[in-house]
């Protein structure tokens, strides 16, 4: 997966991830126990640098995002790994950087 941003929903909020840092997407719900939902909505992203990230839903692939980098004022308030803010269809979005592989569940 290369270019653009993968847009996912986690905890009710939109997040964008550089698509070239995502190597795969898989469902984590098991066929044997479909009545037991997996944590994070049952979808897991495999990250190119190693690691996995559970998400509620994978929404779309955005070719471009107008990202506003986080200022020194805002950075301490956002989760680690947040790199900037953007809007997608009128909804705010947090751009994550996976370079340091700091992710939160």
């Amino acid at each position: 997966m290369t270019g653009g941003f993968l847009i996912v929903r986690r905890g009710g909020t939109l997040w964008g991830l550089p698509a070239d840092q995502v190597s795969g997407i898989q469902r984590t719900e098991t066929v044997e126990k479909p009545e037991v939902p997996a944590a994070g909505g049952g979808i897991e992203l495999r990250l190119a640098g190693g690691g996995r990230l559970a998400v509620d839903a994978v929404l779309t692939l955005a070719a471009e995002l107008a990202v506003r980098p986080l200022s020194a004022r805002l950075r301490p308030h956002l989760p680690a790994g947040s790199a900037g803010l953007a809007l997608l269809a009128g909804e705010p979005l947090v751009l994550m950087t996976l370079a340091d592989r700091v992710l939160h569940d």
Binding site: R10, G11, G12, T13, L14, R68, S71, A72, R73, L74, P76, H77, L78, P79, A80, L85, A86, L87, G90, E91, P92, L93, V94, H104
Partner: protein, 130 residues
Amino acid sequence: MSTTPYLLVRCGEKVAALPAAAVRRVVRGTRLHPLPGAGPGLIGLAEFAGEPLAVLDLAQLLGEERGSSRPPVTVVTWLGSGEERELVGLGVDDAIEVVELDPSALALGTALVGGRPVAVVDTERLGVEA
């Protein structure tokens, strides 16, 4: 002596004064998107004028404790100066009125309005560690 207009806002038990020149808009019932994993000072994210807007808790920024309730009013405010100036939402419990304060109130960080102490907010430095 010239005076400067300030917007009085209530945050918890405290009343604070924001320079009216820095205030872009007062919005009630902003659609806020909470952000799991964020610090306690961030109430959520919103959209304003086609841009993403981080909404911070003014009470927290002023060192006050806040209860569990979310501030119902967002004051869209310019914080910082020069190239670092940015538009931020400040969550407050209510916007009260605009008053005129002596310019020295900003340096003092406090003023008396109607006999009540008011925290005078320096929007150029608010939220930046000293």
